[in-house]
């Protein structure tokens, strides 16, 4: 046995007191879970802001006409706009459209631009269809895939079959991450270790590939065919025609990718690992790599967390964090100009969970879960921003941090 192997073997044994400590700690964990409340690192700040907002609310209501929306944005003493301090604070959007929100234990919700909220239902992993006509979602058990209207009416639901590779334990095979194709005709979703594609009307549910990494499939816009990219469990990116099953290209590199996203014109693919962002062209050729190791000569960032292409053009928003979320930043990259320096848009404390572009491409929603607040940034003038500082109570008095699934278009007019 080599020295390294011996060391591994020695360390793999139980530690003294491991089991007894584990039993005590599990009791604590159970108790904490039974009464857990999302903890914001800015609880004190939020309280302070709420007090300021309350006083500003009194001033605002004194000056505004009776009947004006109490939930309107209020500017605090620091010049930021914050939500009103009421049991269900309203969050108006600075641009048109609707936010789709997923919560843990409280289902899927839609937040309209005027601040009104409606619960779609007790679903998970909800995502928009093109044009915001429908939603794809899973049930909370992760066993069914559904298509719904934004009002919550179920159009169809299916229970995907067990994967043919022998992994028959449904607990280990959740249905996850449904994504509508830009054509609106297909939905790609994960079913355990496989990726499947189904028609938008719920027919023709078929297996596309097995032995897949749990990374949501990314549809490529601008194609006549329905083309989707996914990651194998060997870390390769595969881009395939979902209609014919034809593989178009496969990356040579094998990496632990956690996110794929195509640009709006389908010409560039952003592929994210925990320490690197790669920009690939439409044929899978690597154009640019942003390495994140602190001692690398090309190092520019801390840990990349999330990327989002603008709804049009070549801009890419990128979040990064340092110190385990102690400091988070949002940068803007022009994916057509890889040599150009990234433009800083946002910097603050707390962990950024997501960035979402407004449908008009002029605003960016930064969901700072660590601080329990949303910052809406004017992309052309990042100093101009609006902040909603009470996201944990956005959906009611019971604290819940909603995850932003997407910022889509206005509700289409009724026929």
């Amino acid at each position: 046995m080599s020295g390294d192997d011996r060391l591994r073997e020695l360390m793999s044994r139980p530690a003294p007191g491991e089991d007894a400590a584990g039993e005590r700690s599990l009791d604590s964990a159970r108790a904490a879970f039974a009464g857990h409340v999302p903890r914001g690192s800015h609880r004190g700040v939020r309280l302070g802001v709420a007090l300021v907002a309350a006083s500003m609310l009194m001033l605002a209501t004194a000056l505004t006409p009776v009947g004006a929306a109490v939930g309107a944005w209020i500017r605090d003493a620091g010049g930021r706009l914050v939500g009103a301090d009421d049991p269900e604070p309203a969050a108006q959007l600075p641009a048109s459209g609707r936010l789709l929100l997923n919560t843990a234990g409280r289902g899927a919700w839609i937040l309209d631009e005027n601040g009104s909220r409606n619960k779609v239902g007790n679903y998970s992993e909800a995502s928009w269809s093109p044009g915001g006509l429908y939603l794809a979602a899973t049930d909370t058990d992760g066993t069914r895939l559904l298509a719904l209207t934004p009002a919550g009416k179920v159009r169809w639901s299916i229970r995907p079959p067990v994967s043919t590779n022998g992994m028959a334990d449904p607990d280990e095979m959740p249905v996850d991450d449904p994504r509508w194709a830009p054509s609106g005709l297909r939905i790609a979703y994960l079913a355990g270790p496989s990726i499947r594609v189904i028609d938008g009307d719920g027919s023709n549910d078929e297996l596309l590939a097995e032995e897949i990494s749990p990374v949501p499939g990314a549809w490529r816009p601008g194609e006549d065919a329905n083309v989707v990219s996914f990651v194998t469990d060997r870390g390769q990116i595969v881009t395939a025609n979902a209609d014919s099953g034809q593989e178009l290209w496969r990356s040579a590199a094998r990496e632990k990718f956690v996110q794929l996203e195509w640009s709006a014109d389908g010409q560039r693919l952003a592929a994210v690992t925990s320490d690197e962002l790669r920009i690939l062209d439409g044929e899978g050729t690597s154009l640019r790599r942003y390495r994140l190791a602190t001692d690398h000569p090309l190092a520019a960032f801390g840990e990349v967390h999330e990327v989002a292409f603008a709804p049009a053009g070549s801009a890419l928003a990128l979040t990064r964090e340092r110190g385990g979320g102690a400091v988070s930043e949002v940068l803007l990259i022009d994916s057509l100009k890889p040599a150009q320096k990234p433009k800083p848009l946002f910097s603050g404390s707390g962990l950024i969970a997501s960035v979402s572009w407004a449908p008009d491409g002029e605003w960016l929603l930064v969901a700072n879960d660590g601080a329990g607040e949303w910052s809406f940034l004017d992309v052309s003038d990042p100093e101009r921003r609006r902040v909603f500082a009470d996201t944990p109570r956005l959906l009611g008095s019971r604290p819940s941090l909603p995850a932003v699934s997407g910022w889509c278009c206005r509700e289409p007019p009724s026929p």
């Binding site: 007191g17 005590r24 599990l26 604590s28 469990d233 290209w249």
Partner: protein, 205 residues
């Protein structure tokens, strides 16, 4: 970039085999069991939390113990780290790796604890590893005196690097990220730490 192993199937939609290459990378993000447990816990299931605990407690506790060499402190550190995880459950992205996130908290807290203890202890005082209460399983095969004694000769930062490498199986690059150190520093701490450990372990043979 056309792949040499592209698969052309024809007009009918068939499954693409994802197999390519002779080896398999560790799953990106979480293993299936952790992902299922996270999903269950995030949906409000206590069973999901317990499963998450069962999957990750052993290594979290062992990592803490190997850095601090104190059962009570290891229990506090590992327990507090899990409680931090439970508090963050609602916003945790299941695609992100839970294990590394938890281990980063555990090891950084363990380093801090060890530094504090070093600052408090008298010069020349020797800290004997605390072997704690001997539960049944740990009587059968616990860390040997040779390992714990050998590790205690290293500083806490060196112990942390060795534990992250040999117990938790992280690469030097991943360790550099977790501890926010230059990769060169991680490599040199590993080298020096292993040199000292080999000498200490060989002395027991």
């Amino acid at each position: 970039m056309a792949s040499d192993d592209a698969i052309t199937i024809g007009s009918t939609r068939l499954a693409i085999s994802a197999r390519a290459g002779p080896y398999r990378l560790p799953m990106a993000g979480n293993d299936r069991a952790t992902r299922a447990a996270l999903r269950s816990a995030q949906a409000g299931s206590a069973n999901g939390v317990e499963e998450l605990f069962r999957l990750h407690w052993p290594k979290a506790y062992r990592a803490a113990y190997l850095v601090v060499h104190d059962c009570a402190a290891a229990e506090d550190i590992a327990q507090e780290s899990f409680l931090a995880a439970i508090r963050a459950l609602d916003r945790f992205d299941r695609r992100r790796p839970f294990g590394p996130w938890l281990h980063r908290i555990v090891v950084n807290r363990a380093i801090d604890w060890s530094r504090s203890r070093s600052a408090r202890r008298e010069v020349g005082e020797v800290i004997a590893p605390d072997r704690g209460e001997a539960d049944e399983r740990s009587r059968a095969a616990v860390y040997s005196d040779e390992l714990t004694t050998a590790l205690s000769a290293l500083g806490p930062e060196q112990r942390a690097v060795v534990v992250l490498r040999y117990l938790l199986e992280y690469t030097p690059g991943e360790i550099a990220q977790m501890l926010e150190l230059p990769r060169g520093t991680v490599n040199s701490r590993l080298r020096r730490g292993l040199d000292q450990l080999r000498v200490a372990l060989e002395a027991h043979e």
